[in-house]
């Protein structure tokens, strides 16, 4: 069981919706901004539940829900602005929505109609990354590029940029992530390592990857680490903003550990009842990242029921658009992927493509199914 003591991490908004002080970090934004975060979190959650539903209906092959991690994602991405760049893992749906990725389009990856469909340059959001940890090195290299482009350490803060890279608690065990720490430290690269410690790597509890708090990993590499209440959007924003500023000033990397919880399954293929208790999940539900913000904003008078109703309606519209859009996603053709394997393919690949096209063309006419009695005979042979 993994409910942290409050003094273990930076917290600015309690689960009960009360704002509290922290000696080092402060959320300076207005209640309007906080309301904006709430909206982003609610929409992200609705999107997520719709995607989960679509998977259940067989319209997606797989979906990795972000349920419970909305504050970690919305808080951190709200600490970025151009020319910052963002390197996601595969669960940063709220980050993607914030950066303008079309939610319907995003589903293409999980429906199997696309690889990673969005325009990374236009969005400032790089490709989703499925091989655990690899993207931390890409982010570090990108940050080295920002340095070379003169976008770090300039006197005018607005001229500076940094990179944020998302990864999970499990990812911290990969060699690549540790090498990223080394390269970033060695070159003082402007990169924020944002680890969503959602307590699990599929079925494996965090204790298997680290016996001490993850944020402490950074100190051994010579840069700061900080643990923040990942279910507190204000604290996450404040801590990430501070780390991003440090990076932009040219002072190097920071590891931010957002202590949160994966409230849903690892993916729609997963069955978390095999490895964790209902009690644990319930305890974390009480720390929901959305409800505390809503409580706070209502009590501060910054929003009212009408506002919430409007958000509800907006969420439902989003869900409808996503549902309908998903079914209407363009079906790709294999030949497109021949085009996108290499620039200027050689004759070997071109021949394969041509043979494929010719074969497909010829095949259009035929198409008799296997005779039904075949199955038994196959079984026999095997």
């Amino acid at each position: 069981m993994s409910e942290p003591a409050v003094d273990d991490f930076v917290q600015l908004l309690t689960p009960d919706g009360e704002r509290v002080q922290h000696p080092e970090f402060d959320f300076a934004g207005s209640d309007d901004e906080i309301a904006g975060y709430l909206r982003e979190m609610v929409l992200a959650r609705r999107f997520d539940s719709e995607a989960t539903a679509l998977q259940r209906k067989g319209e997606l092959g797989l979906w990795p829900p972000a349920l419970g991690q909305e504050a970690a994602q919305v808080g951190s991405v709200n600490a970025t602005r151009l020319p910052d760049h963002v390197f996601p893992s595969y669960r940063e749906h709220a980050v993607a929505l914030h950066l303008g990725v079309d939610p319907v389009e995003m589903l293409g990856t999980f429906r199997g109609t696309a690889m990673v469909p969005w325009d990374t340059a236009a969005m400032g959001l790089h490709l989703y990354s499925f091989v655990i940890g690899t993207q931390t090195l890409h982010a570090t290299g990108y940050a080295m590029g920002l340095q070379r482009d003169g976008l770090v350490g300039n006197p005018e803060p607005a001229d500076n940029g940094a990179v944020i890279v998302y990864f999970g608690d499990g990812a911290t065990s990969q060699g690549d992530v540790n090498e990223a720490f080394i390269f970033a430290a060695s070159y003082t690269a402007p990169v924020v390592f944002f680890c969503q410690n959602n307590q699990y790597a599929i079925s494996e509890p965090i204790a298997l990857q680290s016996k001490i708090p993850l944020y402490r990993r950074a100190s051994g590499f010579g840069f700061p680490g900080v643990r923040v209440d990942g279910n507190d959007v204000l604290a996450v924003q404040a801590v990430t903003a501070s780390a991003m500023q440090r990076a932009r000033r040219g002072e190097g990397p920071t590891l931010v550990e957002a202590y949160t919880y994966r409230m849903g399954a690892h993916t729609t293929s997963d069955d978390p009842t095999k490895y964790r208790s209902r009690d644990e999940t319930d305890a974390w539900r009480a720390r929901d990242p959305i409800s505390r913000v809503q409580t706070y904003l209502l009590s501060a008078g910054a929003i009212d029921q009408a506002w919430l109703d409007a958000l509800d309606a907006e969420s439902e519209e989003l869900a409808v658009r996503v549902r309908e859009g998903c079914l209407a996603l363009r079906e790709p053709k294999l030949e497109e992927f021949f085009e996108h394997t290499v620039i200027d393919p050689g004759e070997v690949l071109l021949e394969q493509r041509d043979e494929y096209l010719e074969y497909e063309a010829g095949f259009a006419d035929e198409g008799e199914p296997v005779p039904s009695e075949t199955h038994e005979r196959v079984q026999e042979a095997l």
Binding site: G61, L62, G108, T109, F110, R111, G112, T113, A114, M115, F130, V131, I132, G170, A171, S173, Q174, G175, D176, A201, I202, S203, E204, L208, Q209, S269, D270, K274, Y275, E331, P332, K333, L334, F337, F338, T341, V348, L349, Q352, R353, Y356, Y359, E360, G362, F363, E366, G367, V370, P371, T374, R377, V378, Q379, A381, L382
Partner: protein
């Protein structure tokens, strides 16, 4: 004779190996409480304890590297790579370490390590979850590479692999995990590194392995209806290759087609064609053909059925070969 799925047969094979030898250990991501994402290790941690069925930190190189250390200490680790596409972080430990301890120690140090890799496509997955990296390992001296295509082989080959003192890459055709078959758990199994003639025939030899065995048998039966008598050879072992069985078949039929999901260029088909054109130079009545995945990364799942060799593509090649 019990009927079981391939998944269950593998599980039963692992269980029997754990029972037979206390030095046998399993390690990998999520193999304990969860029983692995495909449940191949289900209940094994419960029954053999966490010291023998070990959940590993999320690091493939670490899993392989520590397995090597355990083997040096006399254990017989069986490690699971969760999906084909995640074996590459462990590549150095496999091709440059595991494969070479025997060689580097002048034959003193044995490496009885089995690396289980669920592989291949056809399951509607996202990227990195449908790959066929077998040629990378079959090109590597010092490794043995095997793959099963059915529950009987899953049950026996797993035990044989674990009993072997060589490092073995064991490819499991994940899309066949749920296919059933009768498994005689008493009968003497055939040797691990031997190919099997699954279906005899006189006109043409389909040479294949793993997930494509079923496809080829289906094709052979379908071709039979058109009057072609097709032999199907399940290689079972990709390294070493049992060329004797293959050559015997092709010498008889005079025609050969190699079928696999992996990319064509430098896939197993290349090696087999290269050998057959030499060993059966005078018998071959047509060039050895290859029906394989294309030389592109595995595409999104909505087009995987166009990418993967299927019954029709095999039959098309049969027609081409017969017409040559």
């Amino acid at each position: 004779m019990p009927t079981m799925t391939l998944a269950k047969a593998l599980n039963a094979g692992l269980r029997r190996a754990l029972e037979a030898d206390p030095k046998v250990l399993l390690a990998g991501e999520d193999i304990g409480k969860l029983g692995g994402v495909f449940r191949i290790t289900e209940h094994l941690q419960r029954d053999f304890g966490p010291d023998r069925v070990i959940d590993s930190p999320l690091a493939e190189s670490g899993i392989l590297g520590t397995a090597i250390g355990l083997a040096l200490r006399g254990y017989r680790p069986v490690v699971e790579i969760q999906f084909d596409g995640f074996v590459y972080p462990a590549y150095d430990q496999i091709v440059s370490q595991l494969s070479r301890f025997y060689f580097r120690s002048h034959g003193r140090l044995k490496m009885p390590v089995v690396v289980r890799i669920p592989y291949g496509g056809g399951i509607g997955a996202i990227e990195h979850h449908s790959e066929s990296p077998e040629a990378y390992f079959a090109h590597t001296p010092g490794l043995k590479v095997v793959t099963c295509s059915n529950p009987v082989d899953g049950y026996w080959m797993m035990q044989q692999a674990i009993a072997s003192n060589n490092p073995i890459i064991f490819f499991e055709p994940k899309r066949r995990y749920h296919e059933k078959g009768e498994v005689d758990t008493e009968a003497e199994p055939m040797p691990l590194f031997q190919a099997r003639v699954v279906k005899p025939g006189d006109d043409l030899t389909l040479i294949t392995y793993g997930p494509m065995v079923r496809t080829c048998v289906e094709a052979a039966i379908a071709a039979g209806e058109e009057g072609h008598d097709i032999e199907v050879v399940d290689l079972r072992s990709l390294s070493p290759l049992d060329m004797a069985t293959v050559t015997e078949s092709v010498t008889k039929t005079g025609r050969a087609i190699v079928v696999h999901e992996a990319a064509m260029t430098l896939g197993m088909g290349a090696e087999i064609a290269a050998r057959l054109q030499q060993d059966c130079f005078y018998s071959l009545q047509a060039p050895v053909l290859r029906v394989t995945g294309y030389d592109i990364p595995y595409p999104p799942s909505r087009v995987e059925s166009s990418f993967l060799p299927d019954l029709d593509r095999v039959l098309d090649a049969v027609d081409r070969s017969m017409a040559f």
